[in-house]
Amino acid sequence: MNIRDRVASLLRPDQVAHAHCDIPCGIYHPHIAQQGAESVERMCVLIGELGSPSDAAGHATLSRYVAEKEKAAELVKHEVRILWGDYFKPPHLEMFPDLHTKVWTIMKLAGAARGSVSIDDAKALRAAVDEFADMFWKSKE
């Protein structure tokens, strides 16, 4: 412990006052949505590779892939809704007049991806989420 630390420990108050934030306010990032969209696509690929399972183990694996795909698609919708509702503000809408349409498209594509195993649908979702992420980063420039 150096001298500065020793002095600080002698002077340290016995009470802490919190300049706090209960939730991670203001910390926004499109990465989770993008990861979710990538997971949807990956699960569609794995489901395609698995084919039609003939035994219980195969059925269990298929179930896990489907469940994971649905969870990831829902995660995409959740994360995009947060960015859309909490982060983006009216001035951003002037920069990106198609923001609402883009979000609406993502909701539709994510919904379709939940009920589908089409890799093309998953790719479309991923592309739309990537465009949305680009909007986010451009808004920070």
């Binding site: 300049a19 706090h20 934030c21 939730i23």
Partner: protein, 192 residues
């Protein structure tokens, strides 16, 4: 007389003890935790606060005050709205319909923390953290009654490089609005 120095020393010790007790009754020290008051306060700053709920008129806009939240934590926030004022929180803060100019604030209020008009009662204060994008404050838990305010931050004594009085910034308001305020429910003039 040999006992005279002893009595003098005893009196000095008693006086010192009485002084320390009097000071501790009036002031207390805290260590800052968290980032919501950046850049004014940093985590690890040691502060001296004046203890007790202040009387009317003793809390100026811009003061940093302490209060306990519902979970028992001691919080530090800046006084933005004073009793009787009308305050509206969007990406900026309006006081009586005039934008408050806040050189101490960083960032903008996230949309989730926007609040409409808040008419503060005669004993209510509106407290906001300086780091507008990372603070839980009156935007979340509402205005705070005077008797909940427990201390007024006066002085930072650690770290040595930032030692000094915590100055209260003078309040500055933007220009008077030229348009009359719209009645409730009306979002703007019809343009077509």
């Amino acid at each position: 007389m040999a006992f005279r120095p002893f009595v003098a020393a005893l009196l000095i010790v008693l006086a010192a003890i009485a002084t320390v007790r009097a000071l501790r009754a009036r002031y207390y020290r805290v260590e800052v935790a968290g980032d919501s008051m950046r850049p004014a306060l940093h985590p690890g700053d040691f502060l001296i606060l004046r203890r007790g709920a202040p009387s009317s008129g003793q809390i100026e806009a811009g003061s940093i005050v302490s209060l306990h939240d519902a979970t028992g934590r001691l919080l530090l926030k800046r006084v933005i709205g004073l009793p009787g004022e009308s305050l509206r929180v969007g990406s900026t803060v309006l006081i009586n319909r005039r934008r408050i100019l806040e050189p101490y604030a960083r960032g903008e209020t996230p949309q989730a923390q926007f609040r409409g008009a808040n008419q503060l009662a005669d004993d209510e204060y509106f407290l906001i953290g300086d780091n507008r994008e990372a603070s839980t404050d009156s935007r979340d838990f509402g205005a705070v009654r005077r008797d909940r305010i427990e201390g007024l931050a006066l002085f930072r004594y650690w770290p040595p490089a930032r030692l000094g009085r915590l100055a209260i910034p003078a309040r500055a308001l933007g220009a008077e609005p030229s348009e009359p305020e719209l009645p409730l429910g009306m979002i703007g003039p019809r343009t077509s």
